[in-house]
């Protein structure tokens, strides 16, 4: 049983008729994801790759069991789409849209808390359990996904979507498969942070080690360190922190919306220090990662 997304996870796509959504829907079906339908208001009755398109989420939840939804709608409509999913009983939301207003993100998080739902993203490329299923578009078309991702026992969480695939590929070419890989999203506030998802990975018998990718800015790492100080992990943890040069460039944003050093705590140096003190192996050179993981798995 893979975590978050597995072979029998039943998925819908909100915004399925959009160009990007249609494209990742097809790629995901090719990869074996169980997508049962999609929603685009005003386009009910159409079909996309043989899947029913409805005007409302309810029409799909009445017909199918729906475990997860992928939300790929323009930023002004994300909050309403997320609320619609949550209020119709869907408990896992993946938001791929970027540039969602901060207030909307926080309101979705608050409704998730009230209803016991989980949001991954916004600005996430998705979640993949290699060889089983995928939620979102991480890794691209099915044949590309198969090159970068293979089944195995290393979990991956990354603030960068591209680096989720890059790290999986690095593990794959060095003979290490992955259990589940999560692109948590590059925005200042995301629904599921490292500290939220570590429990899920720890509860997964198929995950034997966990690799994280992070960047300057944000408080996700200090939250993880606090969690680990309180309750150490059963998993060997590795983190690669990119953007050392950003430490010297306060106030300048690089790459993702959250990648900005405003205070000492935002620097890669501070993050490396607190995580290392909390028992996480800070990987200095990306190429060294597979060797370190193998050592931990064999030792």
């Amino acid at each position: 049983m893979a975590i978050l997304v597995d072979k029998d996870t039943s998925i819908i796509v909100q915004g399925i008729t959009g160009r990007e959504a249609a494209s990742f829907t097809k790629d995901s079906l090719d990869y074996g994801a169980r997508i049962v339908g999609g929603v685009t208001p005003g386009k009910g009755g159409q079909e996309v790759f043989g899947l029913p398109v409805t005007d409302t989420v309810r029409e799909l939840t009445e017909r199918f069991r729906v475990d997860a939804t992928i939300i790929s709608v323009p930023p002004p409509f994300v909050k309403d789409a997320a609320f619609e999913a949550i209020e119709n009983g869907i408990r896992l939301l993946l938001v791929v849209t970027e540039r969602v207003p901060r207030r909307d993100v926080v309101e979705i998080v608050e409704l998730c808390r009230l209803r016991g739902a989980r949001m991954i993203g916004p600005n996430s490329l998705g979640v993949i359990s290699p060889g089983k299923s995928r939620l979102g578009m991480v890794g691209g078309p099915a044949e590309d996904v198969r090159k970068s991702y293979v089944p195995g026992n290393v979990g991956v969480m990354s603030r960068s979507g591209g680096m989720t695939t890059e790290i999986a590929n690095l593990l794959t070419v060095n003979g290490l498969g992955q259990s589940t890989c999560v692109s948590v999203g590059g925005d200042p506030i995301v629904g599921s942070q490292f500290a939220d998802l570590i429990d899920v990975f720890e509860a997964d018998p198929e995950t034997h080690a966990l690799v994280l990718f992070t960047e300057p800015g944000g408080a996700m790492e200090s939250a993880l360190a606090a969690r680990l100080r309180e309750r150490p992990s059963r998993l060997p943890l590795f983190i690669f922190i990119a953007g050392k040069f950003v430490d010297q460039m306060r106030g300048v944003r690089f790459g993702h919306a959250a990648t900005l050093v405003q205070s000492e705590a935002d620097t890669t140096e501070a993050k490396a220090r607190i995580l290392s003190e909390a028992g996480v192996t800070v990987v200095e050179e990306l190429s060294a990662l597979p060797g370190l993981v193998k050592e931990a798995l064999n030792g």
Partner: protein
């Protein structure tokens, strides 16, 4: 996007929070300055309007006892630079006497994934160091309710009329934060005058750039259209890169920051660009720039950026490094880089230190690179190995 103090004060006033009655003076307007001097109440506070903190310490805020002093301060401040920001306008206000100063702020806590209210009895310029702040999460799903602020303020020891008055101000500030999609709304200091009034002497408002679309009124009122989201000065080359990026909507390829090195970088996406830049430095290379490409940029865009980078005389070669791509097409980036170099009459095999982008359409991309003898690396070569190759000039396959 950060608002000027006088814009923030306009919002506070609209929200019903008391601010000093100020006059705005622009540079180059003698009439403005004269009427300000005529209308001013003395003693007056003379405050440069720049988008940076620490104005007091940097000499951007002065006080004037009379019209002569005001005129000389206006002359000194207008057109001057405060912490690298040119002073275009100055706010002149009656100087407010006060007995106590406080800090009130509402912002987002990214770890808590919530809006938070922060209060400190030690307002003023060193509030960050002063500590002793109290915090409370403010739910946004529920209608705003004053009791949350009352509880917070009571926990900080406020009582009586001050507690009630401050609760009112905080509740209004929270309304403003929410109504205008702020990511920060901070009053520092909020002062208690000898007459028992609470007055906001300074305010720092940051709007959520991603929510500006639903505040057309504000964009119009303050002329926010085209205001730089971050106030960093761009170099001519950086501005040119932005022009290239906005001239073509396909892909992102323009966020450029110059460095004094000799190795030009075309790197992406968000995380991999940081990884590649660090790796180049780690292996002793000197990057000439940071930039982020992604989202499947067009051949034209990559070509123009390549030419732009190589237009800098000290840039000897360029390294092209991305994570394993699925959306961006390897062949299009390869064509753009090679075409740019050919258009400059140079040899791609000489000018490209390494091309390492594995993924979508890689066969076509690699075939083109082989044709021109360009050193490239596939997915079996990691980002930092590729950076090392670029620095060593050893290259990969050709």
């Amino acid at each position: 996007m950060r608002l000027y103090e006088h814009e923030g004060k306009t919002l506070l006033e609209q929200a019903g929070i008391t601010v000093p009655k100020g006059t705005l003076v622009s540079s180059g307007s003698a009439a403005d300055a004269e009427s300000a001097a005529g209308a001013a109440t003395f003693p007056a506070a003379v405050k440069s309007q720049v988008l940076t903190g620490g104005r007091m310490k940097a000499g951007g805020i002065a006080f004037a006892e009379d019209a002569d002093q005001l005129n000389s301060e206006l002359t000194r401040l207008l057109g001057s630079e405060i912490r690298g920001h040119r002073v275009e306008t100055v706010l002149v206000e009656p100087r407010t006497q006060f007995d106590r100063e406080f800090y009130l702020g509402i912002t987002y806590d990214s770890a808590a994934k919530s809006a938070v209210a922060v209060f400190s009895q030690a307002g003023g310029i060193d509030v960050e160091q002063a500590g002793a702040a109290v915090k409370a999460e403010i739910p946004l799903l529920l209608p705003a309710s004053g009791f949350r602020f009352k509880e917070l303020l009571a926990s900080a020891g406020l009582q009586g009329r001050l507690l009630s008055g401050m609760t009112g101000v905080f509740t209004k500030l929270a309304g403003l934060f929410r109504d205008y999609d702020c990511i920060l709304a901070e009053i520092n200091p909020l002062v208690l005058t000898p007459e028992g009034k609470l007055v906001a002497l300074d305010v720092h408002v940051e709007l959520d750039d991603d929510a500006l679309y639903r505040h057309a009124d504000l964009v119009k009122q303050f002329g926010l259209e085209g205001r730089d989201a971050d106030a960093r000065e761009r170099s001519p080359l950086e501005r040119k890169a932005e022009e290239i990026d906005s001239a073509d909507h396909r892909g992102v390829a323009g966020r450029m920051v110059e460095f004094p090195g000799n190795l030009g970088l075309l790197i992406g996406g968000g995380g991999a660009s940081l990884t590649a830049f660090d790796a180049v430095q780690r292996h002793g290379g000197k990057p000439a720039n940071y930039c982020e490409i992604g989202g499947n940029p067009s051949v034209w865009k990559v070509k123009e950026l390549t030419k732009l980078l190589l237009s800098r005389e000290d840039v000897e070669r360029i390294a092209v490094i991305m994570n394993v791509v699925s959306n961006t097409r390897v062949d299009l980036v390869a064509r753009g880089v090679v075409k740019g170099i050919l258009e400059l009459g140079l040899d791609p095999a000489e000018k490209i230190a390494i091309f390492r982008i594995p993924g979508a359409w890689e066969e076509d991309g690699f075939a083109l690179l082989r044709k021109y003898g360009v050193p490239y690396a596939d997915r079996t070569v990691s980002i930092d190995q590729a950076a090392k190759m670029a620095v060593a000039g050893a290259g990969g396959e050709r």
